[in-house]
Symmetry: C2
Subunit: 211 residues, 2 copies
């Protein structure tokens, strides 16, 4: 198909497709003339993937490229997940002050998790814990234990649901689940908070505090 | 204390304090001359709160103001939580296409949650589900059920941990937990994924895929 058909098929406008082509997020089409190229279903699929990572996952273009590189290469699953986590943590990765790093390390040790001591997720956890403590709102240890338990259950089931062995499909499944499901999880927690706070404290006065 | 002492005490630089004063995020000090004002411990506490909401929670200044207004007013807890959720959802709130809104509504009904049909969190859930489906990566129903269960457990325990009755302290506790704990939760899920994927698929090849 021509680029106009690719735009129609994928729902991505032609100028955006050209931008992705220039940025190397989309492989070039098969040249059929000096200014014409032919695109395939593979391009449609790739375009949707780029869109999902950028728009649902909120990743900047450079990070989308990192994640795509993992999906394209024969990257082992755990390495690919690390790249996805780095992409989500942003660049440069947050640096945790010593007290935050210590708190994060202790939490992970308590949980029995074996993780890379230099990974961006651990730095991010340490930075968040230190910022909360520094602002005078340290996270309650009981709340932390609840979060650890919930994260452990969700992640165990997510990883166990990865199909088959360490194949390209499994990598794609795991990486996309990691990146793209975060907005879903956060929205669900907020909805559940609304439900349970209404249950305990009564219905909200909408139209007063809302916008 | 003078503004210089306030900066030293809170760790927030003087120009940032002046910016917060101009934006109305911090009440003015008590004037003790034409260019001098006296600040109190209450200002230190408020500054830390603004910093936490802006830097840990990632809220833009206008949204920080909305959340502070809730904490300052005699806002009922469930209304205050709604304002915090709106602040997190961003402005303007995402609008869910019809299929996403329907999927989100069905999910919430299945969960047995009673929520405001017009709230930003429901719109956000619908937008995320529609974007995922539109990109060709619909969320697996079994994964959604796991997320709903995890969100329900976490939120129930969070709301039950809110101290006492519907007081200003309870509102602050609930709103800050909502806004400020999201980065902690996301980091914990990523760490748990790392642990469980290493358990199932082996250790990551660090130094190859990393940066």
């Amino acid at each position: 198909m021509l680029i106009s058909a690719l735009a129609a098929e994928s729902g991505v406008p032609v100028p955006t497709i050209k931008y992705y082509l220039r940025e190397g997020l989309l492989p070039p089409g098969r040249a059929t003339g000096t200014t014409r190229a032919e695109y395939s279903e593979e391009h449609v699929r790739r375009l949707r993937l780029v869109r999902a990572l950028a728009e649902v996952g909120g990743l900047p273009i450079a990070r989308v490229r990192d994640v795509l590189a993992c999906l394209d290469g024969a990257t082992p699953l755990t390495t690919a997940l690390g790249t996805a986590h780095d992409a989500l943590a942003g660049s440069p990765a947050p640096e945790a002050p010593a007290d935050g790093a210590e708190a994060a390390g202790a939490l992970v040790a308590d949980a029995g998790w074996r993780v890379d001591a230099g990974c961006s997720s651990l730095a991010q956890l340490g930075a968040a814990l230190a910022a909360l403590a520094g602002a005078g709102f340290p996270v309650d240890p009981a709340a932390l234990r609840r979060y650890v338990r919930a994260a452990d259950e969700v992640a165990r089931e997510e990883v166990d649901a990865v199909p088959g062995e360490d194949t390209a499909d499994a990598v794609e499944f795991a990486v996309l689940g990691t990146v793209l499901h975060e907005p879903v999880l956060l929205a669900l927690r907020r909805l559940a908070q609304q439900h349970h706070s209404t249950r305990r404290f009564g219905a909200p006065a909408r139209g007063e505090g809302g916008e």
